[in-house]
């Protein structure tokens, strides 16, 4: 008798537990939910053309492929005559560059000069003056805090940046990083802090800076010369 009672009580408890569990399951309702999103903002640096090239002091020659604002920089220029028949003081090409970034940037440049000449009087890298001009951070969305560091000496045609060598008589660009021989390997030309504030990419503003290239017409060895310059912007 006591054993039967005990068995019945156990069954009753089990049944009750089952009913309670079932009830809880039936009544269980989800009232919350989550959406979790992850994302990345990567460093971004960009160089484009800042607009049309200005060629001056040339004799013959011309701008073969001009720069177009906010388009990839792929300018091609015929500097024309660089011998003494060109009586201008300098042949100068001014190429506007446009930079944008969401991080500190470094603009480097690599240059090469090849000439068909074979003597010491042929045009060499040191005969091609180079420098970056006034840096402009203008327009909505452009960050104006911080200072850009120009590693060049600016416009190479400035009197302070070159002169005739008293011994050889050859005109030389003498200031720091004022000619292409300083850029035979990738070398910093400009660096600075973040350029753009938090604005959409469709914002067309940015940092603009003119790159000056200048050659003093001289009694160079006759021949053809090709000057190639590559700019690279990085986010260190």
């Amino acid at each position: 008798m006591p054993r039967q009672t005990s068995t019945q009580i156990t069954k009753f408890i089990l049944l009750t537990t089952l009913l309670v569990v079932s009830a809880v399951s039936c009544l269980g309702q989800s009232t919350t939910g989550t959406v979790t999103m992850s994302a990345t903002v990567s460093k971004f640096v960009e160089i484009n053309s800042g607009g049309a090239v200005t060629l001056s002091g040339n004799s013959g020659g011309g701008v073969t492929t001009d720069g177009v604002t906010n388009s990839p920089l792929a300018v091609s220029i015929n500097l024309g005559e660089l011998g003494p028949s060109n009586t201008n003081s300098f042949v100068t090409a001014q190429v506007p560059l446009k930079l944008r970034s969401n991080a500190p940037y470094v603009l480097s440049m690599t240059a090469s000069v090849s000439s068909s000449g074979t003597s010491a009087s042929r045009i060499g890298a040191a005969d091609v003056g180079f420098g970056l001009g006034t840096i402009s951070r203008l327009g909505i969305g452009v960050n104006t805090t911080g200072t850009d560091t120009n590693a060049t000496s600016g416009d190479p045609t400035l009197a302070a940046n070159g002169s005739v060598n008293g011994t050889t008589g050859r005109y030389e660009f003498t200031a720091v990083r004022s000619n292409l021989s300083a850029f035979s390997s990738a070398t910093t030309a400009l660096s600075g802090p973040i350029i753009m504030n938090a604005v959409p990419r469709s914002n067309a503003n940015g940092l603009t800076v003119p790159a000056f290239f200048a050659v003093k017409p001289q009694f160079f060895e006759n021949g053809t010369t090709t000057i190639s310059v590559t700019f690279i912007v990085t986010a260190p």
Binding site: T32, G33, V35, S38, T40
Partner: protein, 230 residues
């Protein structure tokens, strides 16, 4: 068996005999069964189905929504910097609501890991909105009140600093740093079975305009929805 036990059993037996005699003497003609029950407030939020991710660069859906399952979606939105040339990175998450009473859907959100400068991605840079449609005929009648302006990719413009601003009030996660109402309405379901599939499905849309934000390798954005009965 003890004497006292025997006495108790004898007394019970005599009482039973007397009661049976009485019942036989006075015929019982009525009876009653009394039942009590409860219908509690019921509100439910689950996933309304698969999410939709568009405009992403390198993103993906990690844990998708499954209709009528708990909402626990995980999505990688990918690149939000200017290298993503799409107009918006947009995520649409279907929410599924059921209730037998007036409901209120709330949301609370956070943005972490984006940096702390003025150019870092903020909660105000994450657009948000619900786009509920009119209730179908198989639901209880009524109008749901949307506290958001709807699809955040509609409208909007750049401010004086050039930064993108989503249009309208409650249009970004900046409005939900603390729990706030996003949708409310009368009972959703008619008196149908709990197994009925009738429900109110509402897309929740999150959108970010890729911009020159500060670099940040691991941004986490969370949004938690809670439905309560009013």
């Amino acid at each position: 068996m003890s004497k006292s036990t025997k006495g108790i059993l004898t007394t019970l037996a005599i009482t039973a005999v007397l009661m049976m005699s009485a019942a036989a003497t006075y015929a019982q003609t009525t009876g009653s069964v009394t039942m009590t029950a409860t219908v509690s407030n019921f509100v439910e939020l689950t996933s309304g189905g698969a999410v939709t991710l568009t405009g992403n660069s390198g993103g993906s859906i990690i844990t998708d929504g499954t209709a009528n399952s708990p909402l626990a979606v995980v999505v990688n939105l990918g690149e939000l910097g200017p290298s993503n040339t799409n107009s918006f990175v947009k995520l649409s998450v279907p929410l599924r609501l059921r209730s037998n009473v007036t409901y209120q859907l709330n949301m609370v959100s956070t943005v972490a890991g984006a940096g702390a400068t003025s150019f870092s991605l903020k909660d105000t840079d994450v657009g948000f909105g619900l786009t509920p449609a009119a209730r179908p005929a198989n639901l209880a009648p009524g109008v749901d009140t949307n506290a958001t302006p709807g699809d955040p990719t509609v409208g909007g413009s750049t401010d004086v600093n050039g930064r993108w601003v989503f249009a309208g009030a409650n249009s970004t996660l900046g409005a939900y740093a603390v729990s706030g109402q996003v949708l409310t309405g009368p009972r959703v379901n008619q008196a149908v079975s709990a197994s009925s599939n009738s429900n109110l499905t509402v897309p929740a849309i999150f959108a970010i305009k890729p911009q020159f934000f500060d670099p940040a390798p691991a941004i986490t954005i969370t949004a938690q929805f809670t439905v309560v009965a009013l």
